[in-house]
């Protein structure tokens, strides 16, 4: 990095907020060290930093809590990490409007705690809430079990402020829950992985905290049988907040049902609302599931949510790769069952968990002993991806060592839509400085 740039950055954000050299170790991704990490304290400072980087053609990596820092391909060129940790205030919370405006660097955990103090929450429950920031969760479209009833980031974000690649401050959407003025910019930035702009503020819809909540865990002898069970729940009058499906390996590592037989599964169904509705639904659930092979229903405490959100993240000691799938809900159980078989056939272990009602599946691939050959890992991942595609879905390599990533693309081929994405990228970031090369279609 040119010394002159460092001086200008120090002038923009204060010398204490520019890290270089040995201080950069927390920001090393896949062995690559950025030139500097810069921590602006205001929107204007973010704009100044991006403007300086743009002038020099230096890449910028927006950084929330670093929870998803290794998702995607690593930056092709070194550059600046732009950390948002100093921008972590709750700016506005009007309970009667069911909306809040928050700085992007606030952690989800802190945000939810502040809202919860006034009886509300942002109905999004991704893993790692104490580390992941609101901006990072939006930029990666992270979600958790209760997406089933309450939707994803795209359904909750009503306004967004971003600093674009030219250092301009742009606002999209607004502060009202219903709004069709102009293009829906919040949708553009959700899941854009910091490639179109730096999210600095967000306005989201809130919900009241439920009066009462209960999670029911039901064991099945065979994973295969759970497809019918999920379908029966979805076709019933029940209004579950979540339908989680875990295979035996994922269930035992999440501490849910250590006694689940290999080849078996645990279905966790959540309900919330007035107490009598929750009670009625729990009884109805048992009535539906018992004839379908559901056994040993147990009630879980609410703290199980965070373990479900992270499942099967910690399932195996020697994790070789993590893949996420988006498939239609009716194919979830089959995807898990067949996917585990594909891994087994190559002598590898896997653990699977899904937000079954929304078709979001997550798998961990692992070997017990010595790390496996990257080629063998990549072969399994390739077969998994083919399986997802055959069912009209797609798969993303959420985590793997570089040796694996260089053999199988992180992102699936988006087809003709990829060209539109590239056009959007070149319109919004013509100098290609925001997370260059990290995202889909070479973006």
């Amino acid at each position: 990095m040119p010394g002159a740039l460092r001086e200008k950055l120090s002038a923009a954000v204060g010398p204490a907020n520019v890290l270089t050299g040995i201080e950069l170790s927390p920001y090393v991704v896949e062995g690559r060290t950025p030139d500097a990490a810069v921590f602006p304290g205001s929107i204007d400072e973010v704009a100044a930093v991006v403007g300086l980087a743009a002038n020099e053609g230096v890449p910028v990596t927006p950084w929330g809590g670093g929870a998803a820092a290794s998702v995607g391909m690593p930056a092709a060129r070194a550059g600046l990490v732009l950390g948002l940790r100093r921008m972590s205030r709750l700016l506005e919370h009007e309970p009667a409007d069911l909306t809040a405006t928050v700085e992007a660097g606030m952690t989800m955990g802190a945000f939810q705690a502040a809202l919860g103090g006034r009886g509300q929450w942002m109905s999004l429950d991704p893993a790692d809430a104490d580390r992941a920031t609101v901006g990072g969760v939006l930029a990666t479209n992270a979600f958790g079990p209760r997406r089933h009833l309450y939707g994803a980031a795209r359904d909750l974000l009503i306004g967004v402020t971003v600093v674009t690649a030219d250092g301009a401050v742009v606002r999209g959407g607004g502060k009202v829950v219903k709004n069709v003025a102009g293009y829906d910019l919040p949708k553009l930035f959700v899941g854009s992985y910091g490639t179109l702009g730096v999210i600095v503020e967000a306005t989201v819809k809130l919900r009241p905290l439920p009066d009462h909540e209960q999670l029911q865990a039901v064991r099945f002898e065979r994973l295969k049988d759970t497809g019918v069970a999920v379908k029966a729940i979805m076709g019933s009058d029940l209004i579950p907040s979540a339908i989680e499906l875990l295979d035996a390996a994922a269930a035992s590592s999440a501490g849910l049902a250590a006694d689940t037989p290999a080849g078996g599964a645990v279905l966790v169904v959540g309900f919330d609302g007035p107490r009598e509705q929750v009670a009625w639904q729990c009884a109805e659930l048992a009535r539906i599931l018992v004839p379908l092979g559901g056994q040993q229903t147990r009630t879980l405490e609410a703290e199980a949510w965070s373990r479900l959100a992270a499942a099967p993240g910690t399932a195996r000691p020697a994790t070789a790769a993590v893949m996420t799938f988006s498939v239609v809900p009716s194919l979830v159980a089959e995807t898990m069952d067949r996917g585990a078989g594909i891994a087994r056939a190559r002598g590898l272990h896997s653990a699977w968990a899904a937000h079954a009602g929304v078709g979001a599946v997550r798998a961990v691939l692992a070997s017990d002993a010595a790390p496996h050959e990257p080629a063998a890992i990549a072969t399994v991942l390739g077969e998994w991806r083919e399986m997802a595609r055959a069912g009209g879905g797609h798969a993303t390599l959420a985590w793997a060592p570089l040796a694996v990533k260089s053999r199988i693309p992180v992102w699936d081929d988006p087809g003709a839509a990829g060209r539109i994405m590239q056009r959007i990228k070149s319109q919004l970031d013509p100098g290609n400085i925001l997370n260059p090369g990290r995202f889909i279609a070479g973006i």
């Binding site: 069911l98 939707g151 742009v170 009202v176 709004n179 102009g182 699936d412 988006p414 839509a417």
Partner: protein, 491 residues
């Protein structure tokens, strides 16, 4: 835009006929008149051609021809839009999707349907109703408007409060891009790969291309529904009740406000049993599980009482429920009896600003010597002031338009928006700077460039511009055909 010579027009007509068939092209000025405006009859513009494709390939071929000829083109659904969105530029091609109106597939296991864009909104709910499902977004025009138009405008309805607007129910779209290329944005799964292009397309008002297939979610019908009318002696108390219900952690399916003038008009015309002397009423609907519903209803009634409701009436049967909704839904027809014409405004404000904004609306309209009836989606803060006027009186329509602009300014000042569901179209493009900065608009323009670089696809909409190509009032108000038939009302 250069005007086409008659002989060139004949040649192009023949070419269009070879694409879509001889019975699917209009170019006779008399026939084109039907397509010169939408539900907002203030604006009018004549196209050179209207075509009625029946397949994605037809649409693509027509779009490619238009590109070759540098002719502007615009998609049109039922033409019920209220912001001039589907108006042609002066000249060019209107692509009507009304013959592409099939339900292509219903996948009950995955709770989705694949439909063509010209399908009438309500027809989807009819199709899936027998299996216990429905399509949630319910604009009041749902007996006529198309899913394609709904996608373009990101339409809402009374039940938006709980279930969200169109965008929350769209999974994917097949689109003919402005250059004629056929592309899928999103698909059948909840998440697409990469940028959320389907999410960006919804609400783009026909400027990003033409949707030719749409994958939407369908929902299970709720087990039970309860409807209650809360009556107030002061409209401010009704506004306070809206916030009070929310503050108690209750999320009704719908929460609609009907003001004094509207109640009078509705009672004069239809006798729905609303108390005539009330200053305002809130129509509140709950849906969901049958068990526990009574308890929730009690909490809502209590919140209304505490906010100052003088009485609450709960529908005891489906027919009583329908009667309560009739009061809400027949407001338009009722205005027609007390005024020769009216114009509906569409703005959004934070719920907590309702009392202030409603009083400002009344002041503004009164200052212009006009009357206003308010009937709107109070739970969402989505206002619909209906300004009553007489188009035959010189200058009155201009005063309505001026009052409308002032109301939009007030919405903007309190942190709201200039449209909750009707869109910007031609009508409000010059109001965009009320809520967006130059930088905001530049980014939107860049996004548009990525989809529609030539600008031939639905030109002149959304962005601030001189309305030179289009005839602007004074034009007598004409009700939309579906209103005349009494099928719908304007909100």
């Amino acid at each position: 835009m250069a005007t086409l010579t008659d002989s060139r027009k004949r040649e192009l007509r023949r070419e269009l006929e070879t694409i879509v068939g001889p019975d699917a092209v209009l170019s006779d000025p008399d026939e084109l008149l039907v397509y010169e405006s939408d539900g907002l009859t203030l604006f009018r513009a004549l196209a050179d051609f209207v075509v009625f494709p029946t397949s994605t390939e037809h649409v693509s071929a027509v779009v490619k021809l238009a590109n070759r000829e540098r002719l502007p083109f615009v998609a049109r659904g039922a033409g019920t839009g209220l912001s001039g969105g589907c108006l042609p530029a002066e000249g060019g091609v209107v692509i009507s999707l009304m013959r592409m109106n099939r339900v292509l597939e219903v996948d009950y296991d995955n709770q989705l349907a694949v439909v063509e864009p010209g399908l009438v909104n309500l027809h989807l709910s009819w199709k899936v109703g027998p299996r216990g499902y429905y399509y949630a977004p319910d604009p009041s025009s749902q007996q006529a408007c198309t899913i394609g138009g709904n996608i373009a405008n990101n339409s809402g309805g009374p039940h938006t409060l709980k279930y969200g607007v169109t965008t929350n129910h769209v999974l994917g779209l097949q689109v003919v891009m402005p250059d004629g290329e056929i592309v899928w944005l999103g698909g059948r799964t909840r998440d697409a790969q990469g940028y959320d292009l389907a999410g960006v397309f919804v609400g783009s008002e026909g400027t990003f291309g033409i949707a030719t297939k749409i994958v939407v979610r369908i929902l299970k019908k709720p087990q039970a529904v309860k409807t209650v009318l809360a009556v107030f002696d002061q409209i401010d108390r009704a506004s306070a009740a809206v916030s009070a219900v929310i503050a108690r952690g209750l999320v009704p399916a719908a929460m609609e406000m009907i003001d004094h003038l509207t109640i009078q008009a509705v009672e004069d015309a239809f006798n729905c049993g609303y108390p005539r002397d009330a200053d305002a009423a809130l129509l509140i609907e709950l849906d969901g599980l049958a068990v526990g519903m009574e308890g929730q209803l009690e909490r809502i009634v209590e919140a209304c009482r505490d906010a100052g409701a003088r009485e609450t009436r709960t529908a005891k049967s489906e027919s009583e429920r329908q009667l309560l909704w009739k009061g809400r839904k027949s407001a338009f027809g009722a205005y027609g009896r007390v005024s020769p014409a009216y114009m509906v405004m569409d703005g959004v404000i934070p719920r907590t600003k309702l009392p202030y904004v409603l009083s400002r609306v009344n002041e503004i309209v009164a200052a212009h010597g006009l009357r206003v009836g308010n009937v709107f989606h109070a739970g969402d803060g989505n206002l619909h002031p209906n300004i009553l006027y007489d188009p035959r009186k010189p200058g009155e329509e201009e005063r309505v338009v001026a009052a409308g602009a002032e109301i939009m300014k007030v919405c903007a000042e309190v942190g709201g928006s200039i449209s909750g569901e009707h869109g910007i179209g031609l009508e409000k493009s010059d109001f965009m700077p009320f809520i967006f900065s130059a930088a905001d608009l530049t980014l939107m323009q860049r996004l548009k460039n990525a989809f529609n670089p030539t600008g031939l696809c639905n030109p002149g909409k959304i962005f601030p511009t001189k309305k030179s190509c289009v005839e602007v009032g004074p034009v007598a108000y004409r009700p939309h055909a579906i209103e005349e038939k009494g099928l719908a009302q304007r909100f």
